[in-house]
């Protein structure tokens, strides 16, 4: 009890954990990062309804505060200031679970990896909050939306800050919850409700693996502290109950769920039922990166089990091409972006799989910004055309919504890998590393995906902004640019989409990011025998860059050819007939892409129909066999009673005969007993 009471005053107990250091100011700051949004959530959930249209002040304000604190902490971390140093700094709040030798402390730990994610999460989170003020301004559940968003921020920050596997798992589930709430935000829409449920359940599939992985870690190491357990797991010559390979795959299962990797990808496209800021924040920039973060966090474990890394790479790159293939034919603007997200996440996993952890985090950061930007743009588009999401009823919007158009164009260039935008650097690094680290097949597929990426992004641009408007005239007349509260975040986001790559990862020698993340990934690199090769701009590296740029160009060109372009002087109308002919020529591929390779149908068959039948059969079994047995025992008793009751004929002579027979039997048995006794 005492532990619990002390926990009510969190930081007083900060020194009961392993790291018994004097409290520094940063301990409080670190703790405040997740606590502020939690406070925002609680307040808004409690009184938000009364605040009505003013409900955004508290949550947005607190998130801005979080961002500010985060930036201080990030700065301190990355510059290796006092308590952080090279290895990072942790703070323990209280002992959460004291169960024998199974103890879990709630505490935070900030190192450079965390810092990198903090940048992405808090920045985009803050911008999305602001953006939402405008986007959601007319929605009935205004306060609810901000409450959920704050809950999400809390969960996501807890996820990246936690220093115990189990607390990560808690946050893991909580982001799942907030995702559920936000996808199903418009609960009256049946599709939204179904999508949210699907997201949560599919995530749970991955969570099972994660949970088992955590148990395995505990069984192997006796602790759930992230660093301690990793340290003892990667100790040389360690003998473990559960092989590391299994642990790595179990953790990866969790990552697959949250990051929507094949075959658990099905929830993410449906998740677009949520409001667009949600898609931007959760389903593009932050939550879906949790899987990448997890694998990166556990990188020594993976490095110690290289065969698991191959699995990661294979799943990642397959998801990349698989999702890209679907994105090429989707007509819903947000779905295109959703599949694009899947595909980009696949890249990141491929990077992790090949051992290029830094590259993966690099792409995570750049992708977070430009995909967030793209989603917010799409939101702005949807907003402007009055909640129309089908690109077939768009077109020519560039004139009406120029800021949106401009920022989206930047985002598209970034994702397509056009230098010197952010996406170019990060994607190029992934592909390059894959090639150099001995995974040419990853590189080859990756290149193909790059073509497809450039293609579907500019298909999207073409269909949305260029050419003629294909929707109803009355809509066209009312299209207008979004309010500044929405466009300013777009502009702000466009900046890192352009510059972040240059800043973090200029590929000449050790980049900034590499420098930052070196302490986190060093041991894994050693384990995997990576050697720092000289950067050869005019050798292998230059060739790879050239290939990347080339494929991006090819993709863009094909898209322009088919769907038109209106950039400055380059103007060309789209060729819908040709598109039609092309799709008719490859009907299977086209249909497969359009129908997302029928995975929804497959799962529906497997889990809803067959699984439902099975469950119904089991219920039948329960009623008829198990309960039937119980009832049969009862019925049998009753029946035998009824049968036995028939000897009571009512006729006294029958009774007497019964007695006489009983007498004879009795005599016989006594004689028998007597005979035996003799």
């Amino acid at each position: 009890m005492t532990g619990g009471l002390a926990a009510l005053v969190p930081l007083l107990a900060a020194d009961n954990g392993a790291a018994a250091t004097t409290n520094s100011l940063f301990d409080y700051l670190i703790a405040l990062i997740p606590v502020l949004p939690l406070v925002g959530f609680v307040i808004t959930a409690a009184i938000g309804r009364r605040l009505d249209r003013e409900a955004h002040w508290i949550p947005v304000g607190l998130v801005v505060g979080t961002w500010a604190i985060s930036m201080i902490v990030v700065f301190a971390t990355l510059t290796g200031m006092a308590p952080f140093g090279h290895e990072g700094h942790g703070v323990t709040l209280y002992r959460w679970i004291p169960a024998g030798n199974f103890t879990v402390d709630v505490g935070f730990f900030v190192d450079n990896l965390t810092a990198c994610l903090l940048i992405v999460v808090t920045t985009i989170g803050m911008l999305v909050h602001i953006y939402s003020i405008g986007y959601m301004s007319h929605d009935g559940g205004y306060w609810r939306f901000f409450a959920y968003l704050n809950l999400f921020m809390f969960s996501m920050l807890l996820l990246i800050l936690a220093n115990s596997w189990l607390v990560i798992f808690v946050a893991w589930e909580l982001v799942g919850l907030s995702s559920y709430l936000l996808i199903g935000f418009w609960y009256r829409r049946r599709s939204a409700a179904l999508a949210s449920k699907k997201a949560f359940i599919v995530n749970r599939v991955g969570d099972v693996g994660f949970a088992l992985g955590i148990m395995a870690i505990f069984v192997n190491t006796g602790t759930l502290d992230v660093r301690q357990s990793i340290a003892s797991l990667t100790e040389a010559g360690g003998q473990f109950t559960i092989p590391l390979f299994a642990i790595a795959l179990l953790l990866f299962a969790g990552a697959m769920g949250k990051s929507a990797q094949f075959p658990l990808h099905v929830w993410l496209p449906d998740a677009m039922e949520g409001p667009t800021p949600v898609s931007a924040l959760i389903h593009a920039a932050t939550m879906v990166n949790a899987g990448v973060y997890l694998v990166a966090r556990a990188n020594p474990i993976f490095a110690a089990a290289p065969s698991a890394l191959v699995v990661v790479a294979a799943v990642g790159i397959f998801t990349a091409i698989f999702a890209a293939s679907i994105a090429m034919t989707q007509t819903d603007i947000k779905r295109v972006l959703a599949y694009s997200t899947l595909s980009q996440l696949g890249y990141m996993f491929a990077a992790l799989g090949v051992g290029a952890f830094t590259a993966a985090i690099f792409h995570l950061m750049t992708h977070g910004f430009f995909k967030g930007l793209l989603f917010l743009d799409s939101g702005s588009v949807i907003h402007s055309v009055h909640d129309e999401q089908d690109m077939r009823r768009m077109g020519g919007l560039s004139k009406k919504i120029p800021i949106t158009y401009a920022t989206m164009f930047i985002g598209s260039l970034a994702i397509a890998g056009v230098p010197p935008l952010a996406g170019f650097f990060s994607k190029d690094e992934i592909l390059g590393e894959a090639f150099k680290l001995g995974f040419p097949w990853v590189w080859a597929i990756g290149i193909l995906v790059a073509v497809m990426t450039a293609f579907y992004m500019f298909r999207l641009m073409g269909l949305t902004f260029w050419g003629k408007f294909r929707g109803p005239q009355e809509i066209w007349d009312r299209i207008h640019e979004s309010p500044p509260v929405m466009t300013i975040p777009l502009i702000i986001l466009a900046v890192p989409s352009v510059l972040l790559g240059l800043f973090l990862g200029l590929p000449f020698g050790a980049s900034t990011l590499q420098h930052w993340l070196e302490p986190v990934f060093a041991s894994a690199a050693t384990q995997l025998h990576h050697t720092e090769a000289e950067y050869q701009l005019f050798g292998i590296d230059g060739a790879l860059i050239g290939a990347s740029v080339a494929v991006a160009a090819i993709g863009i060109a094909v898209a322009w050819k088919l769907f038109g372009v209106e950039v400055g002087p380059i103007r060309k109308a789209g060729e819908p007939d040709r598109v039609r002919r092309l799709s008719a020529r490859a009907p299977f591929l086209y249909r497969a892409s359009l129908n997302k390779w029928w995975f929804d149908e497959l799962y529906d068959l497997l889990f809803i129909r067959i699984g439902g039948r099975f469950a119904a059969a089991l219920w039948w079994f329960d009623r008829e066999v198990i309960d039937g047995t119980v009832n049969a025992v009862g019925a049998l008793t009753g029946t035998s009673g009824r049968r036995l009751g028939r000897i009571q004929t009512g006729r006294v002579q029958n009774y007497a005969l019964g007695i006489a027979v009983g007498l004879i039997v009795m005599a016989g048995s006594y004689l028998f007993i007597a005979g035996r006794g003799r």
């Binding site: 009862g634 008793t637 009753g638 035998s640 009673g641 009824r642 036995l644 009751g645 000897i647 009571q648 009512g650 006294v652 029958n654 009774y655 007497a656 019964g658 007695i659 027979v661 009983g662 007498l663 009795m666 005599a667 048995s669 006594y670 004689l671 007993i673 007597a674 006794g677 003799r678």
Partner: protein, 496 residues
Amino acid sequence: MNFGANGSNVVAVLPLIAVVLTAVAVLLVDLIVPRRRDAAIATAMIGLAIVAILVLAVGGETRVAFAGAYTVDRLTTFLDLLFVSIVVLTIAFAPDYLEPRDLPVAEFATVLIFAISGAMLIAASTDLLLLFLGLELMVLPGYLLAGYHKTDGFSTEGAIKYFLLGSFSSAIFLFGLAFVWGLTGSTRIADVAAHFASGGDGAAGVSAGLAMGLAFMTTGVAFKIAAVPFHYWTPDAYQGSPTPVTGYLSVGPKVGAFALILRLFVEALGPLRAEWLAVVVVLAAITMTLGNLVALTQNNVKRMLAYSSIAHTGYMLVGLAAYAGASDPKVQQTGLQGLLYYGAAYSFMNLGAFAVIAALQRRAGVTSNLETFAGLGRREPWLGLLMTLFLLSLTGIPPTAGFFAKAYVILAAVQAGGPVGILAVIAVLNAAAAAFYYLRVIVYMYMRDPVSESPALAHSRLLWGGLAVTTALTIVLGLFPGPLLDIVGQAAKAIG
């Protein structure tokens, strides 16, 4: 030797004399002031109170009278008090039933008191002939009581069935007794026991004649206690009899017959228990099982309670089996104590249950069908509550007398181990099955709406008083079994 006028003999039989005189007095009072119920009842009650006082006064020390034919020991005292309470309660419950049917109370009380004199005689007899006579004195008035509602076809039908089968079984029993007399050459229980203990017929194995005698006696006794397969009379006689009589029949003659068993099988034939153990075990098992199974399907509460009474016989036989099956004298004692405790507990709870039925039948023409009980909890909440208590006690739900009694015999059976241990398991499974039909009555009382809205009846104070006593005992014997345990402990010691 002349025993007749011996003073100590007279002292020993004083309670018996008093009870007979009470019966006669009631008859005389009825002759002097005819048709005055209260006078007859008052006489009976006063007489029985005197009897009870005499029982207590005479008891306390062991008195052997009539050259060992008649012994007053703790067992006698305990059983006598039990019998007196049974008959007092029965008389208390009867008027409410008899009055609307225009049946006289005086004759009822007289015959009933005669019957109980037989039971008291059994309790004190240490002579086989006296046991037989006591048995007859107990059951003959019983036949008459069963047919007491003589204008009612059911009552007389039950009576004649009871009578015919009862006489049949008496003859069988007597035949068995004769065999024992022939073999042992004595009618004294002490002599018989000594004969068998010294290996007269027992040690070297049982002679065929003795086996025959045992078979006939067991059959006769099994009939009286309504053990399967000699139980046939029970449902018909119970259902047919006037309800207070049914109540009496279900406890008085049953406990009396068990008293006979204690005197005959335990005291006299105790040395042969290895021979009759197997029979008792089988009887107990099939008695419990059949009683409960058939009770499950009954729709008439009296008939259901008749089958339940059969089942309870089975439980009591478990105590007897524990006595016979145990090698440790302490455990044997436990078995007998269990039997006695069960007898007492069963008497009170079952009388209580029948009293409620009788009270419901205060309006002539009301049957004892389950429908009668529909909505009782609402119509007459107190009666419903009490009935619930008695039924729960019969089920064996703590903290009631029935529970402790059941636990006690089961404890004895568990201790005895072997086949008797299996009997314990059969007993509890039966108890679970039995819960169904007891609970069914509760279902009707509380969970069904009344078939017809009839106004609550006014019940006599006597009935309420009697119910209060049975209720109190049903609860107290369950919550604080200690005192009674001491008593039955001493009683059992007298014969074990």
